[in-house]
């Protein structure tokens, strides 16, 4: 998992994705490759993924719009 091909493609390592959850609610995340975001529905937050690196900090997450 250290040698992450996602650095080139911007994708999240699938093995990492399998064990990632929302840090606040521990809920399963949805991966939106087009926006490069990991979405936690219960927390209404979208965690950014920068160069394939998920930033799992609520402070840096985007609050979901009401219609999202």
């Amino acid at each position: 998992m250290q040698e992450n091909d996602g650095r080139r493609t911007g994708e999240v390592d699938p093995k990492l994705l399998e064990i990632l959850v929302c840090p606040l609610t521990k809920a399963t995340l949805e991966w939106y490759p087009e926006r490069r975001e990991l979405v936690s529905r219960p927390a209404r937050l979208a965690y950014p993924v920068r160069d394939g690196v998920p930033i799992m900090l609520p402070d840096e997450a985007r609050a979901l719009d009401p219609d999202e």
């Binding site: 250290q2 990632l20 965690y47 900090l57």
Partner: protein
Amino acid sequence: MTPVIFDRSLLARRRARALAERKPGADFLLTLVADDLADRLAAVDRRFSRALVIGDPTGLLAARIAAGRVDEVVRADLLVSGLDGGGALVLDDEALPFVGGAFDLVVSSLALQFANDLPGALIEARRVLKPDGLFLGVLAGGDTLTELRQAFLQAESRRSGGASPRVAPMAEVRDLGGLLQRAGFALPVADQDRLTLRYSSALALMDDLKAMGASSVLADRRRGLTGPALMAEVAAIYQEMFGDPDGRVRASLSLVSLSGWAPHESQQKPLRPGSAKMRLADALKMPPRTEDD
């Protein structure tokens, strides 16, 4: 509600700045702790399938752990991305973003001294471990920076007749074993290594702390700049109280090492009180008491 001791977003900014500046030699403590943790892990006769490494901005610790009996290492950066592209993700060790039981080894390096909720952070480490998984951690504690605390206290009370918080409160090794147990770890162990660092002056020590991203992040700190006059007084008091004959000054550092296992059937555990099937006297082969005794 946990009291907020540390301003964690300020900590993130301090770490980001320290990593951007990358002062040569500022990583000596990370290297020391990486060696210590790798040695401790080498003494454990086990193979681990997936390890989480927290607080490794240089990547050295993950490399050392990966060189041992560990199949896969997830290097996680604390609050800000690390050097050379950083780790696999960025996280907050007080709220880990992993499913329960995702790892069989969790290693935390110089991160827990900044936790607002230390028991909570230990519970999080325990949660992401499989049964019989191992937690290893090193944090600054005990009398770390006690000299700087005393010098600030004296200088501020002399100048303004009061003192403000300058040096973070440190966890004591005697409390940490109990905290590990409360967090649900079996076979908890906490011990400390006391080091003395030497600097040309208190100002050089503070420069080094800044380069490590470890200058004060106390939530209740005094806002605004600390004036040069106060800093000069701190340095003079420090020199007077903790100076060596060669003109250099001493700084204490206590590195507290923690280890604990996620509970599992196979581990040794004490029997329930009253469950003994044999008398202690028989076990000790003591002669039976007689009327003359």
